[in-house]
Symmetry: D4
Subunit: 256 residues, 8 copies
């Protein structure tokens, strides 16, 4: 709770410009309405006061929501002066219906919608996003678009899996100069360790559900990444490109 706000209210009570009851109401609303308000639209409580940098995007998780619900949430956000909105996990048929309700750009491979277009990058450095194979690209694109809509410059290094090390080593400059790296891989998930062994920036590992048999829909990659023998690796959920892109952006916007 903000001391200045509180003090102002008390001052007004003290000098009589605010009645006790009005002050009471105000104080009760303070922690939630002012600091971190939200708007209740029945099926959702839209968070409005999440402290965000000027121009940064807000996010709607599309899975399991009807196009109407998504549109309603987006409208609350737009009415509250949000400029860029990212919609994740939006499949093609949802997108088709939603396009009749809202104006946005749809990225089919990543299942991502963007309202308000991409902002100018204002992050400090580059975010490198690498994938082990071609099949990991949709998850990588979710990460990439998330990072871009949050104001980051992204370099994509796709299909550089460890079984053909020379393909990765050919891009060693990008790896060594990145500010954050997102390593996206399924199957045995070795990509994160090898990249983190080469880089000296934080590496966010994203296991993907790509593979078959004993990949167990990404568990093999997840475990490999959690057990990385290279320092500087942290891990997000299987297929969670959004989470990786979001955290990478956070790190890339940390000023000195």
């Amino acid at each position: 709770m903000n001391n200045l706000d509180l003090k102002g209210v008390l001052q007004q009570v003290s000098d009589g410009s605010l009645t006790v009851d009005d002050a009471l109401l105000h104080l009760k609303e303070l922690p939630f309405k002012n600091l971190k308000g939200f708007e209740d639209i029945g099926f959702a409580k839209v968070d409005l006061h999440r402290k965000v940098r000027q121009g940064a995007a807000e996010v709607i998780y599309g899975a399991g929501k009807t196009p109407e619900q998504i549109a309603a949430i987006a409208k609350v956000m737009l009415n509250n002066n949000q400029r860029n909105i990212l919609i994740t996990r939006l499949d093609a048929s949802q997108a088709e219906s939603l396009l009749k309700l809202l104006n946005f750009e749809y990225y089919a491979e990543a299942k991502v919608g963007v309202i308000g277009g991409m902002p100018e990058p204002d992050g400090i450095g580059d975010i490198v996003i690498a994938t082990g194979g071609t099949s990991d690209i949709p998850v990588a694109e979710e990460a990439a678009l998330t990072a871009e809509v949050l104001g980051n410059k992204v370099k994509r290094l796709y299909d550089v899996g460890v079984a053909g090390l020379h393909r990765m080593l050919a891009h060693i400059d990008d790896i060594m100069t990145a500010r954050v790296i997102i390593a996206v891989a399924g199957m045995e998930g070795a990509l994160a360790s090898v990249i983190a062994g080469l880089a000296d920036c934080p590496v966010i590992a994203v296991p993907t559900s790509i593979g078959y048999g004993a990949s167990f829909n990404g568990i093999a990659a997840l475990l490999a990444m959690l057990n990385s023998c290279a320092s500087g690796v942290t891990v997000v959920n299987i297929d969670n490109g959004f989470g990786a892109g979001y955290t990478a952006s956070m790190i890339n916007h940390l000023a000195s």
Copy 2:
């Protein structure tokens, strides 16, 4: 491979100050000896050229090594001008023997040894380390000491688990002004989500093996943290305080 080094060699070959054969030998040694050399002492290949900032610590993973092996590795490092060395997973009996071979400070709760003392903090902000309960403290201390030996200022918020939310809320200022937060929790691992919902900096979640029954030695906490509904959370291995401290330090040293 360093372009300047290479160019220098070629220049010398071009102007005749270096014979082709000497240049050949030099070039062959370059990538491994100069750029990223290591010293082979039989049971280990000690990495010497990992690019580290002046004064930063090097790390020895103590588990499964004899005191003699640890001392030998440390000596190679010290001979190569390493000033601060962190030894993790060093249990009390290893430490006792090692103290006869080496001069270092032992932190029993965290099972961590530090050679060369703690450096002056040179990180940009504060690293906040929170635990759910008292039993999570050893893992948290491994993270804290790792961060400190790598040059960070650490704030400890211990025993602020979500079942008594007011204990955490009493420290909301620390949470809201941290540059990176490490959330250490066993059992249901909810701490990371709640903190990440309050903070707007990266949160590194460390599941601990604290609990019993269906905690499955940290799996419950690990899964909870991977599935965090709050953005900005990444996860390291169960009980991996070192990994969290190391990555937090990386983030805390990223200059603009």
Copy 3:
């Protein structure tokens, strides 16, 4: 076994109004037939003597039953003076067919049918049902409708997940005055712990299969809830809204 019944039978044998063989048959049937009767309709043995309070609903588990089977079971119940009948796990196509055979109200989101309408609430206090997100609402509604058809007043707090704590804290009065709380959440399932830390009534936690990747269809939430560090939490099966609503109603009807 009821002593009075036994004594009556013996009395009749003693005074000759009942033959020994009839008494024998009667006694053999006593423990099973009289105390808790059922009617055998081939594919099901409909339980009729479950001791229920006046007006309480009986339940048919719809999954894997044909509309004809459900209608047959419902008819046996109605013939035995059951007034309110709850049909759970009744999907839309089953419901459509069943509506041609029976008169009932269908709640599509919860996949629940109610025969005989909702009774007047006769529970002692309020049952609060909270969800972590919008996607958990179908499970929550199964719990809510179950509780309502069993005679309870229900307060719904939907989308109050722990990543935006202020949304939950805004309803702290409801939480603190509830007689029983049902906490419905998928992903990391932290909702139950946080609510139980605020409330001082029993909290029934319902993990949902909402999530992806390492949520493992609700296992992450289930484990988190079983490991809750808050006292007063018990858990039901993944997506088992019915079980939570039923037990909550039991507790809410326990008279002093």
Copy 4:
């Protein structure tokens, strides 16, 4: 936050009997110091304002704490007028040391210590605690002692497993008249379903780690209990006798 308290403070500000700064301090401390205060003793933040009924016990989780830590926490509680304190997961050697620091009664089988003796039962009905076998008794006793120290009358039905149904049926009166039942069982965990099929009160199922091979330290029993086909069953963590006893007491103290 309590409206009356707030209003009182504002009233005092309004009439000048409290300065703005003192009011500010008071308001800031209110939610945490007055409503739900805690005392920070370094390794623990002892919760003091958990709203408890007169005479009810407070709980210390003993596992992983030194006798000195337990004694220190207990002293803070006793200084704050707590009369009965329960210490759980206190093994024999901890207990021996602790007895030198504190006066309490130790129950070895349940690994439970009780400071201040057992209170008079003030619960509404009886709590029945049943076990499948002899080996489940330690967990059952943890539940029983927890319930007793929280003011409940407990009936113990031990060794009534489903493989010898007549042993349970001999106690059907106890089962049918209980206000809450705690069913404690390892191996196949069928006890909970069979009891819940006979009773019409809430049944709290406690899986135990008793068994071998495919019991997987209680997972078999846990899964069985979560999948109970009987209504009214909720489940706690494997071996969590305390949790079951605590929740049972909550239910047994719910007044109309």
Copy 5:
């Protein structure tokens, strides 16, 4: 290898009525062609010499075979004087096509086809097949039809789950006089333990994949049955009605 056959061959060699080379050929073919011959039809090696009682049925596992393959295998069997043939895991569309190629009776619920009709029962006693619920009936019917086609009399006790014990107890005579019992149950799988506690004959437990959430497609029931506290219970694979029926028939045909 049959001693008499071998001795006859040697006798013929000894008395000159068989040349050494013919004997050699004969001996080489003996173990595989005569004792346990099979016919190779490309995609399958049809086993023909499995020692079976006169009139007993042979079995074709239908899953993953085309109707043409099934018909071809059946024809080899019929050509080798097999009278009753059981086809399991034959879904409706396979059955429809197969009926154009072969004459057989199709049991849709159990997904079983029977060529040559049901034989007269020649087993020693009755096989009782009990299910926990209505949804377990398809698996139970696979067991029942298997047992019947192998010459057994089957008593069906369906929907006698442990949550309504009186339904099972009403059939206690059937349970107590059976020669073998097959207990078919999903969810918590407690049926096997309760029946085995009442019966004194072998109980073959069949876990089914019926349930949801933490039933994990039959794992909960499987584990419960493996951990049965009642003696005399053995277990087959999840949904393996055939295996249970086959073994029950073996036991029921063991003569003194």
Copy 6:
């Protein structure tokens, strides 16, 4: 409930030789004391009316019981005319203490005690017990001794694992003439399938916890056995030699 007993009582009431009240008392005790009585000795309810054949053994599960408890239970059994008593899971130190309280023979490898000696075999045929390796012998011996104390003749075929098929084939006569076979194996558990492919009697498979790494303490063998492609295989819990021996004895005593 025994009809004759009941009928006798009713007859006496009918002819006046028994008053209604005395009959009432008698009847109330009937179902539990006479039909299936047990004796309650505090920590255990000793089952006394389990219908057993003359001379057959009763069983005490030794794990987790004190020598005093075992002795007390055994005494109740002996006082009720039990002649042979099997004590399983009795480790060496328990056995040593128990030998001071009771007279019995201890089989150290199988961790089995036998009170009253081995009875004369009265089973119909032979029980063959085979193991894959030497390390499986303790579990096999638990099965063998259980079968012997229950009156069976046992043939032991140890160390006949499938990696050296000729060792098993050398005993094919024993396999082909057995009435029941118990196949005991750890690691990949293939023994059961191979034996069942050769035999035409029921095969009870016992997975053992022998192995390392991905044997997961018997899970690999358990799964293999549950998935046996050979008909006639049923499975018991990992290391459950007793269960296999008990069921095998049941089958071996089934008269025509």
Copy 7:
């Protein structure tokens, strides 16, 4: 890095025929471009310098690629003088579309396409591929076609599962004279152990996802194969016929 190449470059710098900058570029590209080149076509980096024997096939993993992507990759390969190309995991509808873009032979059962036809076998011995049942054939065919396109002679032994040992023993000569054996089996996966016990060449075990219930889509077979008690068995991923065929071919081409 090839010394001759390096020396040549330095020689050219030394004699002035190569500028320092051109040499620098050349040297930087050497380790990655020349030794093991690849061609970047956007969504894939096609590996071109994998050292392969004249005539050997290159491989495209078809799963998750569009026909257009597959055709593009194949064209790069063909342009680089690749004669035989294997396309795996190519389902029927992909194949149909691809046939419009490329000329190749499609093997529907194995889901394999072959461009350029089968080469003459140049392996040293025979590769024997055995399956436990008919349903394992598709995986076995993937292995067989992979081996054939890589220049091996393959003997197929299908449907020789261990439940009918004589079917396998009839082919013991093939087993004993193979250079490598691939054992393909689902369910309990015992085939590998039994074959490896008979053979004295390397056995590559391929678990298949064939089975149901506790086969857990191949986990049972995988674990059994990893725990094989027979020496000489190594294992590949579930359903990984390609991997087995590829490694078998490697072994079969190892010259003395």
Copy 8:
């Protein structure tokens, strides 16, 4: 069965030099005694006819055997002219006792004993054994000693984990010229993929139980290796150095 042997027997019967009964006995013993004999010493059936190359070693699995049992088995082998015998999984205390009974060399780190010394290498090429870290060395040494006692030359590349790629690349010549490679690694197990991507010989991957938390005693490494994206990788059980060494030797002895 050997045709020549058979023909000889028949010839003798034909010419009267062998009676029919003696021939019968001989023929019955042939397949098991002559082709693949074994000696039964009670607790073990020692395999004697495993066709092995002159001088090759026989193996005893030491785990779970007493020193006396091991000595007895070794003596049977030595009596049958075995020159080199390998004893695996022999811990220090077993070794100490065994050294009093037998003359052999003990390798403590690998827990391996060797009777008869190391033979001269007669394998075709080199076996390279690489480990990810220092802690993997014991498993690697089990593989190395196994390979050496079976007559192979071994190159050890220890501590070349993927987090410091340059350490492995410094040995690329060894990797590229090996005939077989054994890759031993715990934690994330990425070593196998990276090596197999560089080599073109078979790579046998050995996951180790090294690691903590989510390494799950080697499961993470096992899964990673099974999912290797590099071709030519096969896998053995966790910590199974012996199995890898044995198969590598087989491959290394395959003549053209």
